[in-house]
Amino acid sequence: MADLIPIKKVAGRPIPLRGNDVDTDRIIPARFMKAVTFEGMGRFAFYDVRFDAEGHSKGHIMDDPRFEAKGPRVAIVNKNFGCGSSREHAPQALLRWGIKAIVGESFADIFFGNCVALGIPCVSASEAKVAALMAAVEEDPAHDLVVDLETMTIAYRGKSYAIALPGGSRSQLLDGSWDATRSLLQGADAVRATAARLPYVAGFAKA
């Protein structure tokens, strides 16, 4: 089973991905999901937003040389990011493109949970802070943005911003239990006891 990998701090070059209600169909169009692994998904992240029918770049920020960087990346987004389809292909595509953390105003429930399960913190900040951060990044993108889950702050170009993350997810990331399988398997006896208490598990047969 996977080792516990605590995630306390993520540092990477920022990339603003503007817009409210960005759905997972946009993050990864369904036609790229015709595969039995997640490998190679990174190249299809935001495909139809980035490329025209002939595969030429439309000049999206992800392909803008100003925002090009090696190593881990931190995305900055607006409201309700990742709504729609539950496809884990969406965070997988972002992760494989290089995004290791996301800062945003708010996230859709399933997307948020999928990200935690992959060890990608989705931290939220107020509308004003996100706007300020996006502006600071667009002005000068060539610095690392640091997401610190211990102090619950992010830092960019000497400025620090308070962030929020629900307590359960924060502790999962901090103690490395974000890959939930291990903790769930530890409760195996309790699981059997719960199942035995549920009348439908035995088809409502007389006790």
């Binding site: 209600d21 369904a30 859709a108 399960a117 992959l118 399988t181 409760g187 409502f204």
Partner: protein, 469 residues
């Protein structure tokens, strides 16, 4: 204070509190399909995990299958690869697979209720956001990601935070030509596509009480489009009558015991809610989307709203929608020319949906410039429709009658929009590119409204066809 169904189901299925503070929740029914499960099985193999409760997981194939022929191997080799993968995974992990030859293949959310697998008071999970559909039976049903599919396979549990509950009461009576689809689009239009984030929606009120099970499924199906991960209706006599006698329902000798437990799981009359919203069912008109998310919806006789009418948060998305759709603010939606009409999906691909659409199809012929298809939600739906002669009705009117599957709802199979085609669709998402063409345009509406649009060749008011009084 009493408890809501969500409180009771949560309590009954709580295994323990996890160190993270989340709940370890037992999952009574796990459904899987070919798109979101193969990577989960790959993780199972890599981590050397066994399936904990193999008899509580059921599989089907729906997203990728062609709807014209089921000849194997599929022409699309990637689709064939996904089909072979789920066949092999089910075989090796001992999971029951409802494939074509089983006679039960269908869209996963049509199948669960239809087979009696989904039952009141249960927890349900599936690697698919429209798992919220199963809440129609009074189940607590979550859409999950692939890593969580692995978790459920390995442990039959999810690590999850309890949502808050918003009760949505829809009072009054729906007018002729107004369906559950219109109710759900109306709700999302009013509460917004992010209004439900963090909430479970409990649907109630006279309109919901009078709905059939299939209408309740349409309603719960689209909870996720309003941001709510799940939606449910408290189980009542309609629910019990629906479940009785289905293949996986409790056997007759245990049925009354089951009903007693199901009743006990319904929300108490004095249950407390985190929020309550009341809507008037009389004021709901046949509703159509004009934009790129399901909240961008209007009554068919309204005009496309102008940017100023939106809250600041939604203005930019509205501007984006005008541009993508090529529609002008202030213009009529009625009369918008369509190229394709699609009747089907887990929202509206059940027998009652096909019956309502057939009533309209009997009244005319599909305009020659429109490609119209009807895709039943499952083989059982197809058989029921055949027994009533519906395929003939549709064919005579100029619709194509297809084999069951997700089809043009998300176009992972060969059914796709081309270029900027406009599609009147009974599905659930009008996202950019959703129906297979990166520039394709989707107008969501009820199946009867889709049939009306097919016959008019343009967005029409089904009430006119059904004889508005």
């Amino acid at each position: 204070m009493g408890k809501s169904l969500l409180d009771k189901v949560w309590q009954a299925h709580s295994v323990r509190e996890l160190p993270s503070g989340q709940t370890q929740l037992f999952i009574g029914l796990h459904l899987i399909h070919e798109v979101t499960s193969p990577q989960a099985f790959q993780m199972m193999r890599e981590q050397d995990l066994k399936v904990a409760f193999a008899q509580r997981t059921f599989a089907t194939v729906d997203h990728i299958i062609p709807t014209d022929t089921r000849q194997r191997p599929y022409v699309d080799s990637q689709a064939e690869g996904m089909m072979s993968a789920i066949e092999r995974n089910c075989r090796e992990f001992g999971i029951r697979f409802f494939d074509g030859p089983s006679g039960h293949q269908g869209i996963v959310h049509v199948l669960g209720p239809e087979l009696g697998l989904t039952q009141p008071g249960m927890t349900v999970a599936c690697g698919d956001s429209h798992t919220s559909t199963h809440g129609a039976l009074g189940a607590v049903a979550f859409g999950i990601g692939t890593s969580q599919v692995r978790d459920v396979l390995a442990s039959q549990c999810l690590a999850i935070q309890r949502p808050r509950v918003r009760r949505i009461e829809i009072e009054g009576k729906l007018a002729l030509g107004v369906y559950a689809k219109d109710v759900t689009l109306h709700i999302i239009r009013n509460l917004g596509v992010k209004g439900g984030v963090g909430f479970a929606y409990e649907y109630a009120g006279a309109v919901v009480e009078h709905m059939t099970m299939e209408e309740r499924m349409t309603l719960c199906n689209m909870s996720i489009e309003g941001g709510a991960r799940l939606g449910y209706v408290n189980p009542d006599q309609t629910t019990f009558d629906y479940v009785r006698g289905r293949e996986f329902a409790p056997p007759a000798e245990n049925f009354e015991r089951a009903v007693a437990w199901w009743r006990s799981m319904a929300s108490d009359p004095d249950a407390g809610y985190d929020d309550t919203v009341r809507l008037d069912g009389e004021r709901i008109a046949p509703t159509v989307t004009w934009g790129i998310n399901p909240g961008q919806a209007i009554g068919v006789d309204e005009k496309i709203p102008v940017a100023d009418s939106f809250a600041p948060d939604d203005r930019e998305v509205a501007e984006d929608a005008y541009e993508y759709m090529g529609f002008k603010p202030g213009a009529e939606i009625r009369g918008t020319r369509i190229d394709v009409a699609f009747i089907g999906s887990c929202t509206n691909g059940r027998i009652s949906d096909l019956r309502e659409a057939a009533k309209v199809a009997r009244l005319g012929k599909v305009k020659p410039h429109v490609k119209a298809l009807v895709v039943p939600g499952s083989e059982a739906v197809a058989k029921a429709a055949e027994a009533e002669g519906l395929p003939e009705v549709f064919r005579q009117a100029g619709f194509e009658w297809r084999l069951p599957g997700c089809s043009m709802c998300l176009a992972m199979n060969p059914d796709k929009l081309v270029g900027r085609q406009v599609c009147a669709s009974s599905s659930n998402r009008n996202f950019k590119g959703r129906q297979g063409s990166p520039s394709g345009r989707t107008l969501l509406m009820s199946p009867a409204m889709v049939a009306a649009a097919a016959i008019e060749g343009a967005v029409a008011d089904v009430r006119d066809m059904l004889g508005r009084k």
